[in-house]
């Protein structure tokens, strides 16, 4: 890397893999999210799922352990933020048995979302103590058990959540603007983490746990940190989701469907890169919306078939391109075109040179 590069260029080069997807996402939001009411809602939901997918990516993408349990943190964030923002009088009517500090609490949505993320992170830091001791598939399954624990508790703790009677009255104020802001912030957190020393240590342990351990990396500690951070982001995403839905009921639609959607998004986009998480979310949201429109048309698709088609799509992706659309790579910084740049079909020597150059850049 030449030393005479200006600081600005180096900063741009560093932030490039963040700026490009964030910029494209903002552009897409501007184009489709400012139209009619339906498109606004669809875009808002997509942006919330960008936050959720990025939240899961922070842990799963960097550690290589697929988590099926992150929607537990989404739910914790959602319920926390919901409980903190329902107007006090309405809360007294809905939930007469709330403990005093919760009954009187009324925060702004932004503050409540942050508190939701913090509560989710605190919860994650407790459950991570046993969970992060597990490896690979056992960890994935234990994370699913965690999801069930949380679902059971939320379904039955009626004095706090109203259980299956649904928590209503959560202010609906997730807009295209604030969800875009949260999504971009989530991406920034993910990018700073994955390029930080801690993130690199975890990524090293993903690539080769034995070598990483031999090099002195404490895998448990790195995973623990990533888990807490990703729970925070997922929790904030959950809070935004609560303020998008307005009504929360702890059923399969609230826990399992988002789990499936986020896993699909990450796998389709490419679970090992931030741009993959974002691209996957956009692609799957677009497909879902197209399917939904087909379903609502006369004599079109029946509604239940949407997930079937998404499932089949996921299968085809897994069979043909298991590393996702991005192949797990970030957006590369554009190289300056050189006069002697090899033209397509140039001799092998030219190709080799390009390959070496590319390696030097990344």
């Amino acid at each position: 890397m030449p030393e005479n590069q200006s600081l600005a260029l180096r900063a741009l080069r560093y932030a490039w893999p963040l700026i490009v997807p964030a910029g494209l996402l903002a552009l897409l939001t501007l184009v489709v999210g400012t139209g009619d009411k339906t498109m606004t809602l669809v875009t808002t939901k997509m942006l919330i799922f960008v936050t959720l997918a990025v939240g899961v990516y922070i842990f799963s993408g960097n550690s290589g352990i697929l988590s099926f349990g992150h929607m537990a943190f989404m739910a914790v964030g959602a319920y926390t933020s919901g409980l903190l923002t329902i107007p006090v009088l309405q809360k007294a009517a809905l939930l007469p048995d709330l403990p005093g500090f919760l009954a009187d609490a009324h925060l702004s949505t932004a503050l409540a979302a942050i508190v939701g993320g913090l509560v989710a992170a605190a919860f994650a830091m407790v459950v991570a103590i046993p969970l992060m001791r597990l490896n690979g598939i056992a960890a994935s399954i234990a994370s699913l058990a965690l999801l069930l624990v949380v679902q059971t508790v939320i379904s039955n703790w009626e004095s706090l959540t109203r259980g299956h009677s649904a928590l209503i009255g959560v202010p609906v104020n997730s807009t295209v603007g604030n969800t875009l802001l949260v999504a971009v912030l989530a991406m920034a957190v993910a990018y700073v983490y994955q390029t930080s020393r801690r993130g690199l240590l975890l990524r090293a342990s993903r690539e080769d746990p034995r070598a990483a351990r031999a090099a002195g990396i404490n895998i448990y500690r790195e995973r623990y940190l990533a888990f807490a951070l990703s729970a925070f982001v997922t929790g904030v995403g959950g809070a935004m989701y609560a303020h998008y839905l307005g009504v929360m009921r702890p059923d399969a639609g609230f826990f399992l469907d988002p789990t499936f959607m986020v896993v699909t998004m990450l796998v389709v986009g490419g679970i090992n890169s931030l741009s993959g998480a974002v691209l996957g979310t956009v692609v799957i949201s677009a497909i879902s919306e197209v399917l939904r429109r087909l379903a609502s048309g006369e004599g079109g698709l029946k509604p239940g078939l949407q997930t079937v088609i998404l499932g089949v799509f996921l299968l085809v992706m897994l069979i043909t391109r298991p590393s996702g659309l991005t192949g797990g790579r970030e957006v590369p910084f554009p190289r300056r075109r050189r006069r002697d740049a090899p033209t397509p079909g140039a001799p092998a020597g030219g190709d080799l040179q390009t390959a070496n150059e590319q390696e030097a850049v990344t």
């Binding site: 290589g64 697929l66 099926f68 459950v127 103590i129 046993p130 969970l131 001791r133 597990l134 490896n135 690979g136 598939i137 056992a138 994935s140 399954i141 234990a142 699913l144 058990a145 965690l146 069930l148 624990v149 059971t152 508790v153 379904s155 039955n156 746990p209 399969a252 399992l256 499936f260 896993v263 699909t264 796998v267 029946k302 509604p303 239940g304 078939l305 949407q306 997930t307 079937v308 998404l310 499932g311 089949v312 996921l314 299968l315 897994l318 069979i319 298991p322």
Partner: protein, 294 residues
């Protein structure tokens, strides 16, 4: 005392049901490192087959249900799992996840989300009196079916060629293939057995609940997975023991939790499971190959 004996019987019958489910999951995991999420959907499809066949004479009805389970398992293998065979564990896990959701939604779409009652033959309901104890008949059916199947599996694994090959493949699939084990046949057979176990589990589950619904496979497959994790992923013996342990813990919690906490039974159960894993993260009977992978 009577209550205690009844609880013990319930515990063993639930434990053996869980062991059946866990074995179905563990069999595929031990041979091809596939954590088959879609096992729950094999259970659900078999249960809907039960519903569809419920007017027929009992033997036809049972055989039909078993055939449905085997058929669905074989179809899944051929369509979804064969193309990703040998890829890394996470890819196969997500594949299973995708199959699970696709099949579940196909059921939702074709059958609706509401539970549908199933008319069961008389011997499933009612109670039997043994030595002054009232025992639910379906506990006994469950016990008997599990005992027969578990014995059958032990005989299959110890005495038949295919069973021995399967154990060899579970130990070291590459080596087994080099020694002439036919991979496609073996894996298809493993799926068939897994489907059979799922169908039996479906019959037992429906005999307890009396109804079928598309989501019904989810909770059991989690139980099966968790049992495998407790027992040690990849160990058949571990899966059976893990299932039994989970069943016993469930009944124990049911019997001892105070009324206010009883709805949280599953939360306590899975928290206990996580506590077990703190002490033995590799499970009770870890298979060495899996520990090494980690």
């Amino acid at each position: 005392m009577k209550l205690v004996i009844q609880d013990v019987i319930n515990a063993v019958s639930l434990g053996s049901l869980y062991a059946l489910i866990a074995l179905g999951v563990a069999l595929l995991f031990s041979i091809m490192r596939l954590a088959n999420f879609a096992h729950g959907e094999i259970i659900a499809v078999s249960a809907f087959a039960m519903l569809a066949l419920s007017g027929l004479p009992v033997p036809v009805w049972i055989l039909g249900t078993l055939a449905a389970g085997v058929l669905v398992a074989l179809l899944m293998e051929r369509i979804a799992f064969r193309p990703v065979r040998g890829k890394d564990m996470t890819t196969m896990l997500i594949t299973a996840f995708a199959v699970s959701f696709a099949v579940k939604d196909l059921l939702l779409f074709s059958q609706g989300a509401l539970p549908k009652p199933v008319r069961l033959p008389g011997f499933f309901s009612g109670t039997v009196e043994v030595a002054g104890l009232q025992i639910a008949a379906n506990s006994l059916v469950s016990l008997a079916a599990s005992a027969v199947l578990l014995t059958g599996l032990v005989v299959f694994f110890q005495k038949t060629d295919l069973g021995v090959q399967m154990r060899a493949a579970a130990d070291d699939f590459g080596m087994a293939r080099l020694l002439g084990v036919r991979a496609n046949l073996l894996i298809a057979a493993a799926f068939a057995i897994s489907g059979l176990l799922a169908a039996v589990a479906a019959i037992l589950l429906v005999s307890q609940s009396g109804s079928v619904e598309p989501y019904m496979g989810f909770a059991p497959v989690i139980v099966g997975f968790v049992a495998c994790v407790i027992g040690g992923m990849g160990s058949l013996k571990g899966a059976a023991v893990g299932g039994m342990l989970l069943g016993c813990l469930t009944v124990l919690l049911q019997a001892t939790l105070p009324d206010g906490l009883a709805p949280y039974r599953d939360a306590f159960l899975y928290s206990l499971v996580i506590a077990i894993l703190v002490v033995r993260p590799q499970g009770l009977f870890a298979s060495p190959a899996v520990v090494e992978d980690a």
